[in-house]
């Protein structure tokens, strides 16, 4: 009865899957698409297919340790996904650096995109990509869980197994670093324009 299943919380689904493992597939139907998109924004769509497969397999085997007091399983699933994504960290940084260097995003290349959008957003995207690539991995993790997975601080803490104070400090450091990188890039643009004027 799909109607009944959709009323169940994630915790209910996981609890039921202790008795009836097939029930766990319901969790995939609910959350795989969002986690896929999160992974695809970091590693590309092809790698994201592997990430969700591995994430949900690991989640399935670990379901007996799920804290059933947490009705929403997203933080738990993102926590597992982040570990899987972490194995591809070099690829993630490489794609960000490529975007920063060339203005062409290897991950979205081939996606439908209007050329004028690409040009308009180009400079900003490159600076952002450079800033993200330069962040310490654990700071980038917190920033992207907040910005791309829409997790609350508490949920990020749960996902990463860190206290909320650490979430706050990592996020604020990451944001400051990004802000500084963008400001520096702005200064560089102004400097270049000035030197053109002088020339």
């Amino acid at each position: 009865m799909p109607g009944v299943e959709s009323d169940r919380s994630d915790a209910d689904v996981i609890e039921r899957s202790q008795e009836v493992p097939e029930a766990f597939a319901g969790l995939y139907d609910r959350h795989a698409a969002a986690i896929f998109r999160f992974a695809a924004r970091r590693l590309g769509r092809q790698a994201a297919e592997d990430v969700i497969a591995e994430t949900f397999l690991a989640a399935f085997w670990r379901r007996g340790r799920y804290d059933l007091s947490r009705s929403d399983a997203r933080p738990w699933l993102y926590g597992i996904a982040v570990n899987v994504i972490g194995k591809h960290r070099r690829g993630e940084v490489r794609s960000l650096r490529a975007l920063a260097r060339t203005g062409v995003d290897p991950l979205t290349d081939g996606e439908f995109e209007r050329a004028d959008d690409r040009v308009a957003a180009g400079a900003m995207r490159r600076e952002l990509a450079a800033a993200l690539a330069a962040l310490p991995a654990e700071h980038r993790e917190v920033l992207l869980l907040v910005a791309w997975a829409d997790l609350s601080y508490e949920e990020v803490g749960f996902a990463l197994g860190i206290p909320i104070g650490t979430v706050r400090s990592r996020l604020s450091r990451a944001r400051r670093r990004v802000r500084e990188e963008l400001a520096r890039a702005d200064r560089d643009v102004v400097d270049k324009e000035l030197s053109h004027e002088r020339a």
Partner: protein, 329 residues
């Protein structure tokens, strides 16, 4: 537009997956579900690693994750004697803890009192994580150091439940003063939380765990959450209540995450131990020990397992101190 919004827009053009892109993972999951062994999963109590301001409303429910009946029959953890010796030791430790704490004066912090806490979390195969945080007893403010600067955070909403020191303190302090009444209060909360999932005609408490297992988890969870500030007399009553539960074991001669001597309290066969200071009986840590079934690689079910007795995770409060202002240690 702030930098967080700019990050939100980066690669936002990457859309949802197609059905084909989701199909492979779905198939692999279904294959795993159908695999032998998927039905014999051991259930473990939760590993609540979220401390101080982060425990959220888990005061009751987190203690209540199901463990399959029969898990209590697993063999005792090495080293430190057999189950019988550990049950005897638990009885001694719980009595001594109750007696020591009962004579201590009540020291309820002022709502505006700042509490310093430093915490270390270890997990096998990973670097240790440490954290320092200042929390105000009433939970309205917390602070942390960043690049040598102190950052004070003010909660936009009043904290609730046992997610902050005063809430955890009150959860203990509001317990009745006799051990049997404490157990009845625990049962009421457990039934209120789990009542709707009990099968018709099934046990009024929970159908997977014994009443004693649930009571043990509930009470030790209360102690763990209040590690930053706990009413000593209420702790003493909880220890007396725990002493009436059959099957509680204690392990001595062990150390916590930072190498200090500790006594580990657990339910028989359970891998999770609440760690007590052997002199003061204050809660200092929590750890998880392999019972021999923890896979080294969670993806490879048939691969090597951590030998029984391996410490899988260990968390410790390294220092807790009442301080006059954030930044003081």
């Amino acid at each position: 537009m702030n930098e967080l919004d700019l990050v939100r827009e980066l690669r936002a053009d990457i859309g949802a997956p197609t059905d084909i892109q989701l199909a492979a993972g779905h198939e692999q999951l279904l294959a795993a579900i159908g695999a032998p062994g998927s039905r014999q999963l051991r259930r473990r109590p939760p590993r609540t690693r979220y401390l101080g301001g982060v425990l959220a409303a888990a005061v009751v429910a987190a203690a209540l994750v199901l463990v399959l009946e029969g898990s209590g029959t697993s063999t005792p953890l090495a080293p430190g004697g057999g189950t019988e010796a550990r049950v005897r030791l638990a009885s001694q430790v719980l009595r001594a803890a109750a007696s020591s704490l009962a004579s201590q004066p009540a020291a309820r912090p002022d709502p505006h009192q700042w509490i310093y806490g430093s915490f270390v979390a270890r997990a096998i195969g990973q670097p240790a994580q440490s954290n320092e945080e200042w929390s105000r007893f009433d939970g309205r403010q917390s602070a942390y150091a960043q690049d040598g600067q102190l950052v004070v955070h003010t909660s936009p909403v009043p904290p609730s439940g046992a997610s902050y020191p005063m809430g955890a303190y009150h959860a203990l302090a509001s317990l009745p003063s006799s051990p049997t009444a404490v157990l009845r209060a625990a049962d009421r909360t457990i039934v209120a939380t789990r009542g709707s999932v009990a099968p018709p005609g099934g046990s009024p408490i929970g159908h997977h765990q014994t009443r004693q297992q649930l009571e043990f988890q509930f009470l030790t969870q209360l102690l763990w959450q209040a590690a930053q500030a706990a009413p000593a007399r209420a702790e003493a009553v909880v220890f007396r209540a725990l002493a009436t539960l059959p099957g509680v074991t204690a392990q001595s001669g062990i150390t916590d995450a930072v190498g200090r001597p500790a006594i580990g309290l657990s339910d028989v066969g359970d891998e999770q131990q609440l760690l007590l200071d052997p002199r003061t009986y204050k809660v200092t840590g929590l750890r998880t020990i392999s019972d021999g079934s923890w896979p080294m690689n969670v993806m490879a079910r048939s691969g090597p397992k951590y030998p029984r007795g391996t410490v899988i995770e260990s968390d410790a409060w390294v220092k807790i101190a009442l301080v006059s202002r954030p930044g003081e240690r």
